[in-house]
Symmetry: C2
Subunit: 107 residues, 2 copies
DNA sequence: ACCATAATTCTAGTTATATCGAAATAATGG
DNA sequence: CCATTATTTCGATATAACTAGAATTATGGT
């Protein structure tokens, strides 16, 4: 069993930092809800109600943290949640739970 | 079935922000590994190798985000990972996955 | 070529965070 | 009480983030 989604601590920290702004978390949640089809920047702007430049800034932040993926289609940019990455991050938090204890797992 | 660990978006953002620093994520991971017994501030300092004042700052950040809990025992302060909270946060990310789509869940 | 639309980049002001030494506080033992 | 240990608070500085208007680039339609 090969682990494909091993995450370095610095990558994890960057990803969590990207989720650590209410505005960005809202954008990310909007994309997670939207599903695999994703949303154009304008659609996100309509749903999240923020200035285009602010949104663009946050989208770049989320992209560089690997939480979303962007694909250019004509003059629109489609944004999709990076579900695999998000799952890996969800697992990261408690990954090594109680590793220092000899016997017994957590809980 | 009552959901006890409902999290507001602003709380989630604060929690993720707290995990969004490499130094703090290291501290948190150290506590997660340590298990329910927790660690004194001095023990964390020894394992994470950072100045006491810096560590104290990060611990306050983590505490106010609800990621760790502190208990004073004599002159030492025991720090424990808030496992319930961490689990809730892990679930938060993909909680409403594909909610906007009529049919079919994600994947 | 021209114009409307989609999105990003530029620029700047404001606020928040990171770091850490020095000093202060708090609790214990002698 | 005094010394010691454990931790926090203070203060200062450096860096980074948030926000958003204005300007810019890129594409598609007419």
């Amino acid at each position: 069993m090969v682990v494909l989604d091993e995450i370095l601590i610095e990558e994890a920290a960057q990803a969590f930092a990207a989720m650590g702004s209410e505005a960005r978390l809202l954008v990310l949640a909007t994309l997670v809800k939207a599903g695999r089809e994703g949303l154009a920047v304008g659609d996100i702007q309509a749903r999240c109600a923020m200035p285009a430049s602010t949104l663009s800034h946050h989208l770049r932040f989320l992209t560089s943290a690997g939480l979303i993926e962007q694909e250019k289609q004509g003059r629109t940019v489609i944004n999709r949640a990076a579900y695999d990455r998000l799952e890996a991050l969800a697992g990261y938090i408690l990954k090594e739970c109680c590793a220092d204890q000899q016997r017994g797992a957590c809980k």
